[in-house]
């Protein structure tokens, strides 16, 4: 696929959604854009391998998620991925429930330690099983379960005060 117009159209159509995916797996926007860039290079390089089975968006999303996971296996912050005991400090974002929008939820996910974030994203949002997560990340299934539980606990702690606030206002 060498037609720049088509490439641009494809990028315009999917890049926004895929950037949102990347941000969930990375620490900041700059890193997310790097992942997105790498992922779309792969997409354009491998377009002929797409066999029109399943949705095209799903195919791109898998490439994006895999690129993000591969990025996590590099570098020093691999060490912070797993086995880190994270102690939540209570709600640092007292916001009205009305503001519980996607951006805020994205922010909450980004604040999670990398390991919790990755497992939560894969399980809760992408719909991977613990077995698939364990294979993708090279960890045990039990680790995946415990990371998920901890992630949920932290998110629950963060979100609970918002519900309380909502009830008081009512």
């Amino acid at each position: 696929m060498e037609d720049r117009g088509s490439q641009e159209e494809l990028f315009r159509r999917y890049a926004g959604k895929m950037l949102a995916v990347c941000i969930r797996y990375t620490r900041h926007r700059m890193e997310a854009e790097d992942v997105l860039q790498d992922a779309f290079i792969k997409v354009f390089d491998n377009l002929e391998k797409y066999e029109f089975k399943g949705s095209f968006e799903g195919w791109i999303r898998r490439i994006v998620v895999n690129t993000a996971l591969k990025k996590q296996t590099r570098k020093s912050y691999k060490n912070e991925l797993y086995g880190v005991d994270y102690v939540p400090e209570g709600s640092q974002h007292p916001r009205a429930i009305a503001s519980l929008n996607a951006d805020y939820l994205l922010e909450l996910i980004q604040e999670l330690p990398m390991g919790y974030k990755t497992v939560f994203n894969l399980y809760a949002i992408e719909g991977y099983s613990h077995k698939e997560i364990a294979e993708a990340l090279g960890i045990g299934e039990s680790t995946s379960r415990s990371q998920l539980a901890k992630a949920r606990a932290i998110l629950q702690t963060r979100i609970a005060p918002l519900y309380d606030e909502k009830m008081v206002k009512r």
Partner: protein, 434 residues
């Protein structure tokens, strides 16, 4: 609990599974040009450098390898005037003086019969007892219609066309003079032609090593990164810098030279940072003065916690292809030159750790092309050169230089730009190859 957890999953899934942001269109150009461009720059750079070297060599060979490249018409070799030979003439345009006099240049193919009234004068040379010969070819001047002289040659040596022309013009200003009474060399010294470099023209190979100083500059993309910038500046200190290189130089008779080569630069910095605390045990002694005049020493063991300071060495490695243009003058055994030109970065590697912009945790960014550029593109170098000839072929050189790399080491997306200006003193050895 499971139900609650599922509701958490559901909340995030509903909001984020199809969440969409503004597509970052600025990435598109980078994506589409990623592979071909980056590799292309290096290979084209290498090819360009090689082509330039070959071109320089060929040009020089063509200019000096033939029997006579200047606009001589005929050559009379000293006393062997009888064996005058016609040589290759690469310039066929007539020389026109300010006074409108036409100095004819006779091409090789011109039959000797067409040259009329040839006058040959000879003059003894003090050294080598070789007589320079001058062939004067009368040519019709459109203004004065008087014969003028055209070509000079001395002992088979090349005399630049401009030198000949100017010398002749000076001579022509003297009325009714065809003879060259002043010594030829005197005439030539009065011309604009550089007396330096002529006999030193050739191809030179050189190697050099330099102690450098790398002046780093961090530039924050946004003021929110100012504190990060300060943390980086405080934690990363200059340590050392050096470069080594090899080059080929073609020095022309005019004194101009072109140089191309390969340089390796290394910039080393020291990262100093605190990594938690360490416990040390200190034995404290206290002197207690008793009322009876005696002193008792009390020893106490105290455990203290002090910051654990660690350091790492960071390394930036660059391979550069410099392409310099310069001018050299020579006096006896000394030479001086100035030069400048672009340097193309062929390779850029890093072995570095520094604070992450997100959490100020020391992170290994070695050869991380998400943070660092793969190549630095074009830089600019200028400098002076001083040489001392220790023999006919060899000289040692000292070359202070300044190199500016306009591109940041880091990519545009990184919060800090990291630019360097390198200065150094190159100590080198230069050998004439031909």
């Amino acid at each position: 609990m499971d139900k609650q957890n599922n509701s958490i999953d559901k909340l995030f899934r509903e909001h984020l599974a199809d969440h969409e942001m503004e597509p970052p269109m600025h990435l598109l150009d980078g994506i589409l040009s990623d592979k071909k461009d980056k590799r292309g720059i290096v290979w084209w750079g290498l090819l360009g450098g090689i082509a330039m070297l070959v071109g320089i060599g060929f040009y020089f060979y063509a200019a000096t390898g033939g029997e006579q490249p200047v606009a001589s018409v005929k050559v009379l070799a000293g006393k062997k005037a009888a064996t005058a030979k016609t040589v290759t003439n690469t310039v066929e345009k007539p020389i026109i003086t300010n006074e409108g006099t036409v100095l004819e240049v006779i091409p090789v193919s011109t039959p000797p019969a067409k040259v009329k009234n040839t006058i040959v004068t000879e003059r003894q040379q003090r050294r080598e007892q070789v007589t320079p010969s001058i062939m004067v070819v009368p040519v019709a001047s459109p203004i004065r219609q008087t014969p003028v002289s055209v070509a000079i040659n001395e002992n088979n040596k090349t005399i630049p066309q401009t030198a000949v022309a100017v010398a002749l013009i000076q001579k022509l200003k003297a009325p009714s003079s065809i003879d060259f009474n002043p010594p030829l060399e005197t005439l030539l010294q009065k011309t604009d032609c550089s007396k330096f470099g002529k006999e030193y023209a050739g191809i030179y190979g050189g190697i050099n090593v330099s102690i450098d100083m790398a002046q780093r500059r961090f530039i924050s993309k946004d003021e929110v990164f100012d504190s990060y910038l300060e943390a980086r500046e405080e934690s990363e200190q200059q340590f050392s810098a050096y470069s080594v290189g090899a080059d080929l130089t073609a020095l022309f008779k005019s004194g101009l030279f072109v140089t191309a080569g390969l340089d390796y630069h290394q910039i080393s910095e020291k990262l100093i940072y605190q990594n938690g605390f360490k416990r040390i045990t200190v034995i404290e002694e206290t002197e207690i003065h008793n009322p009876n005049g005696t002193t008792t020493i009390v020893r106490d063991t105290v455990v203290k916690q002090i910051p654990r300071i660690l350091s790492d060495k960071n390394k930036y490695q660059l391979v550069q292809l410099p392409m310099m243009l310069g001018y050299e003058i020579n006096a006896q055994n000394f030479s001086m030159s100035f030069y400048g030109g672009p340097t193309l970065n062929l390779l850029f590697r890093q072995q570095v750790k520094f604070f992450s912009p997100d959490d100020l945790v020391v992170t290994d960014y070695s050869n991380d092309h998400k943070v660092f550029r793969e190549r630095l593109g074009i830089g600019w170098r200028m400098g002076l050169g001083f040489g001392y000839r220790i023999s006919g072929r060899h000289q040692i050189t000292f070359r202070p230089y300044l190199q500016i790399n306009p591109k940041s080491f880091t990519r545009d997306a990184f919060p800090l730009q990291q630019k360097y200006i390198i200065t150094g003193l190159r100590l080198g050895w230069k050998t004439r190859l031909r």
